[in-house]
């Protein structure tokens, strides 16, 4: 099962390697890892999507907590968070297919950020599920390159306030 962990860390050099090193060392599998500064410039947030059972995730949380510059670890329960991933997709696009791909982009709310004679580059920010759908639609045209940021997640206040 996939779990999304949100890890607050001190914004020091070397912290990311301490955190990411832990995964390979302890044999944990991660799908993605994204890092960025928070509203407090001394603190960064690392969002991790990991695969594993309950035991693995519990161990992961505990081992992360042992890393000295790690301030807080939180594993999100299903439905209590919003997650997004930004991706840039370069797809084959000769002139005669331009309209088709533009329609897909419009339908999926992807933004066209670059066009060349033979390619078109889309910017897409949505959930993993929607990303898969977009992939299915674009594959027939031939995808040249994909760059993904990894998932970022934030707690849903609306869900919390209903409780």
């Amino acid at each position: 099962m996939k779990y999304t962990l949100s890890v607050l860390v001190e914004n020091h050099p070397g912290v990311l390697s301490k955190v990411s090193g832990l995964f390979s060392r302890r044999g944990f599998n991660i799908d993605s890892l994204a890092v960025g500064i928070t509203e407090d410039s001394n603190i960064s947030r690392i969002t991790i999507v990991a695969d594993g059972d309950e035991y693995v995730i519990e161990q992961l949380e505990k081992q992360l907590n042992k890393v000295i510059p790690v301030i807080k670890v939180r594993t999100f329960a299903q439905d209590e968070f919003i997650s997004r991933e930004l991706s840039l997709i370069k797809v084959n696009c000769p002139a005669k297919q331009r309209l088709d791909i533009m329609k897909i982009a419009e339908l999926m709310e992807a933004k066209i950020v670059d066009v060349s004679v033979n390619t078109m580059t889309l910017q897409f920010a949505d959930t993993l599920e929607r990303f898969e759908t977009l992939m299915d639609l674009l594959k027939p045209y031939g995808i040249r390159e994909i760059v993904r940021t990894g998932t970022v997640a934030i707690e849903k206040d609306s869900a919390a306030s209903r409780k």
């Binding site: 001190e10 070397g14 390697s17 035991y55 161990q59 505990k62 907590n65 510059p69």
Partner: protein, 539 residues
């Protein structure tokens, strides 16, 4: 103005450091040069790994942070095994390494190694100091982190220009403030209550004493709890000494190389109270089998240890000393007499009589005999291999200490750790027991003993093979002794004598005992070689 090197030395003084173990090199020279002017003793070991082991022995003997120092590159790299050994056994340690100039970092210059990177998985925390002004805070934090919570080694890597850089004045911070590091020390009262409730219904309880009991200084509290409840105790290798060896409630060490009765007790119990132990694979090979029929209460200061190797019903996160004194205050329980009778029965029935060979020392009975000759607070440091098991199962102690590389199983630990222990406790008997394999990994440290006029007794179990693996080959590899025979063995006695250290050779227990008596009476170091038959089993 004050230089980085001076600041480093002043930090050590602020922390009450009296001794460091180390080896110099170009980029740690500024530090050693300033240290030279102070009362802090710098002990020159003969290889950096042994600096870490010596700091470990020192730290264990005094329950204080041990300090080791090395230069950049090979010096630091040599120290890694010692640091990792300390990490596995939760030893409070600060390791200081010199580093190449900070503007040359990453250019693969002479003697450059990314030591903070290399040590990442073997340290509790590490620092690469880039600014002289950061040194006081870094040292303050390092000593705090090393010695609190679950102790462990902290590495401080200091580029030579940071040691040479100057700032206006030295101010040592009074407090540390690390937002992500606040170890919890007192157990949750609800969990303690739940534990006591479960205990009250237990018919066959057992306590597992781990190294945490000794690390947290909980020996007395632990023993009080045991005597109040009469629960039988077994220990891990790291927990040896938590109970007096001849206490009727003490069964022995568990595990693949432990006492049979101890393993029987844990398998037949209905409640296991694990105190400060990891439940490593050598202690309990198949924890899932055990937890099928028993309830587990696990007390540990490190929450990550709870549930890692063994399913736990009641986790209690906290310092053993606090938790056990809370539990001891409230407990109203005594283990049933039938169970105690059963445990006593197993202790007698499952004991394995030692097997002796004519013309050889039988090491188990010798270690047991030796225990009786030692002073009450003696320190015995066992190396790794068969010698370690002979010592673990036969060293009888009450207030004494037993040190060994439990988690990492690092050969060559005993003599350097004994050197550290002797510096820490000059008034106590310090004995290192090793094999002929492990001795040859660190016999260069005889020079450190000689140079410092130390009184360390060394016993080499000479069986001309790498005994532990040799025994494994007997069982699993059809007695094919691949690469385990130590032919053309040097005369260890003569080697010791070359350093001015007295030595003797024993080929019977009588000879070994009579020389041991003589060596313990002397105030100088000495070395005893015991001729041991290669087929002497571990247990």
């Amino acid at each position: 103005m004050v230089s980085g090197a001076e600041i480093m030395v002043k930090c050590l003084q602020e922390e009450g450091v009296e001794i460091v173990f180390g080896y110099p090199g170009a980029v740690i020279c500024p530090f050693f040069d300033k240290l030279y002017d102070t009362d802090i003793k710098a002990v020159l070991v003969r290889q950096e790994q042994n600096a870490a082991h010596a700091a470990s022995g020192y730290a264990r003997a005094l329950s204080r942070v041990g300090v080791c120092v090395a230069t950049s590159g090979p010096g630091a790299l040599n120290m890694i095994t010692g640091i990792a050994t300390a990490y596995m056994d939760s030893i409070p340690m600060v390791a200081i390494t010199g580093q190449v100039k900070s503007d040359q970092l990453g250019r693969d210059v002479f003697q450059e190694a990314d030591i903070t990177g290399a040590c990442e998985s073997f340290v509790k925390h590490s620092y690469l100091v880039k600014d002289t002004a950061d040194l006081p805070r870094v040292f303050k934090e390092a000593f705090h982190i090393a010695s609190t919570g679950r102790p462990g080694p902290v590495l401080i890597d200091v580029p030579v220009d940071v040691q040479q850089g100057e700032i206006k004045e030295f101010v040592y911070p009074e407090k540390v403030n690390i937002i992500g590091y606040k170890p919890s020390v007192s157990g949750h009262p609800m969990q303690i209550k739940r534990a006591l409730d479960i205990l009250s219904t237990s018919e066959r309880p057992v306590i597992v004493a781990g190294g945490g009991v000794l690390t947290s200084g909980a020996k007395l509290v632990f023993r009080e709890f045991v005597s109040k409840t009469s629960i039988p105790v077994i220990s891990t290798m790291m927990g040896i000494g938590a109970m007096p060896s001849d206490d009727p409630l003490y069964v022995g060490m568990i595990g693949s190389h432990g006492v049979k009765a101890a393993n029987k007790v844990i398998h037949d119990s209905d409640l296991i109270i694990v105190c400060g132990a990891r439940v490593g694979d050598r202690a309990v090979a198949s924890p899932d089998q055990v937890t099928k029929q028993t309830t587990v209460i696990h007390i540990d200061i490190d929450p990550a240890e709870i549930g890692k190797n063994m399913k736990t019903n009641i986790p209690i996160v906290g310092d053993i000393k606090n938790v056990l004194s809370q539990m001891g205050r409230d407990v109203q329980y005594a283990a049933p007499e039938e169970w105690l009778e059963q445990v006593r029965q197993w202790k007698t029935d499952l004991a394995v009589p030692p097997k002796s060979f004519e013309g050889f020392v039988e090491p188990k009975s010798f270690i047991a005999k030796l225990s009786g000759m030692l002073g009450p607070k003696s320190i015995l440091v066992a190396d790794v291999g068969q010698n370690q098991i002979w010592c673990a199962n036969n060293y009888r102690l009450s207030d004494g200490r037993f040190f060994t590389s439990g988690g990492m199983g690092t050969m060559g630990y005993s003599v350097p750790a004994a050197i550290g222990a002797k510096f820490a406790r000059p008034d106590r008997d310090v004995v290192a027991v090793c094999g002929d394999g492990s001795f040859q990994m660190m016999m260069n440290e005889l020079a450190t003993i000689a140079q410092n006029g130390l009184n360390v007794k060394i016993i080499v179990m000479r069986n001309t093979v790498l005994g532990m693996v040799h025994e494994l080959q007997d069982v699993f590899y059809n007695s094919r002794y691949a690469v385990t025979e130590l032919d053309e063995m040097p005369d260890f006695g003569k080697l010791a004598q070359a350093y001015g250290i007295d030595a003797a050779f024993a080929s019977s227990n009588e000879e070994a005992e009579s020389y041991a008596e003589k060596m313990l009476a002397s105030d100088k170091s000495s070395l005893l070689v015991c001729n041991v038959h290669p087929n002497t089993p571990s247990r």
